[in-house]
Amino acid sequence: MWSRGPAALILAVLAVAPACLRAQDAPPYGLGRSATPAELAGWDIDVRADGQGLPPGSGSVRDGLKVYAERCAVCHGDKGEGNPMDRLVGGTGTLASANPVRTVGSFWPYPTTLFDYIRRAMPFNAPESLAADQIYAVCAYLLYLNQIVAAEAVLDAETLPKVQMPNRNGFTSPDPRPDVPRPGSR
């Protein structure tokens, strides 16, 4: 039997490996069921940095001022200055200082993240209650307050991903750790 071992093993590997690797093969366990396009459409809410996932619609800075005043200002201040919740405006040039101020304007690398996050999580007391036009408008207003877009800006799925954020190149990866010299090696 031992003499057959290696051959049997190779045959076993040949038989099993393609089944694991080839995606078009039948599912191994046959559990779950196909997700329908309608099911996916209702839950597929993420927006990527390249704009994939942005819905139809548009919003202006002017419209955003109104939505922001009604839905956002109570937590983030009339002009995004924060209090009681996160500050959203200002802080540019502070990241390397002793007291960095991390806001949409000074810190966030992608404008699309703003849309994604507002759509899924804001306003805090009524998440997923804003229409796409309202979200585009609030994005436009916040970017305007941060002096990133002009007062007449109108944002949509085409224009939002093209907005250049000041800290776009402020992030590094991959992870450089371990990064601290071992004790006694200094």
């Binding site: 196909s34 996916l40 990527r48 390397a96 004790p183």
Partner: protein, 425 residues
Amino acid sequence: MPAKPVSSPGRIGRRAFLGRGAILAGSAAALGTVFRRTASAQSDANIPPNVPPWMTQQGAPILSPAYGVPSPFEHDVVRRPRARTRTLTAASSCTPLQDLHGIITPNGLHFERHHAGVPAIDPDAHRLLVHGLVERPLTFTINDLMRFPAVSRLHFLECSGNSFWTGTTAKSTVQETHGLLSCCEWTGVLLSTVLAEAGMQPNATWVLAEGADAAGLSRSVPIEKALDDALLVYAQNGERLRPEQGYPLRLLLPGYEGNMNVKWLRRLKLGDQPFQTREETSKYTDLMPDGTSRQFTFVMEAKSVITFPSGGFQLQDHGFYEISGLAWSGRGRITRVEVSTDGGANWKQARLQEPILTKCLTRFRLPWRWEGGPARLQSRAIDETGYVQPDRPDLVAVRGVNSYYHCNAIQEWQVAADGAITNVV
């Protein structure tokens, strides 16, 4: 002879010391108010040579209650808020590490970090969608997922915001400084098994994990981790997940920062780039002194802390004490823990208690005699990669104090000449 009542208060652990007035909470507000300096007349009536009443009558019947709870004498062993926050739904609470033994965190004491509160989810009304770069977009019920081959594994979970770079005080307890740390046995199905079921496309490099809470919390997970030891978990410590831990389904990424272990998991989307969510851009990135921020710093590096004695305890009697604490590493097993009682001038090797598992808490112990006088207690962990837990000045020299996350510096407790123990700021 009737069996002894199960509710007999065991005179063990902390109260054994307390019964002799040996150890008190230095900060009653922080560690609870159950402590008693001296034995009361009533409890004296129940110690030798007297026979306590619980030996002369039947104890409580079975099923009182049907789901057991700790002794009422343990009422101060509870989670506590980590800090004063502006809401109680985007907030965190800490595990009382100073009161726990061994390596397992009881389910009711697992730390909490929620971004929009704890949703109340009917498991029959919950679904997991798997889509994106897959051959077969699938939807799973919890029962579907529980039919897959299962695994149970012990792993720690630590919030990457655990331990403070600045801002602790002399009164800080280990619950405050290190309590966003817990360890459970997790049961579920390997994520790789479920991804194979959907048929992963070869260009898939990242997986978006999304929760069903009111934050729709979402993180991108590298495909290497997803295919390595990632779990879709439905049970902790033998029972179904607690709501605070993601009932009915959560992601578990052993050794990775807590935030990525998405609770109330409802969706996995495979893509060919990270999704750049809020939680991996404006949060959970590490700001360096030069103003740049490290992104995708997932692993929790090796760390340890002495849990007994620790901040808030008061030593009274001289003599023997066992120093005890926890060590862990997101890169693998702990291989060695060293303890200093003189502020890092001299180190002794602590005994590591079995089991010593990968990406799991390891309990360490070291015999010690306190004969009065000051001491400075520290511990440092070394993991199987050879990584040594850094001293705070060495860590700060590289990263400054504004990176907020991933502080794994050596913790020091100061023992005063009178036995009072405080946090070294």
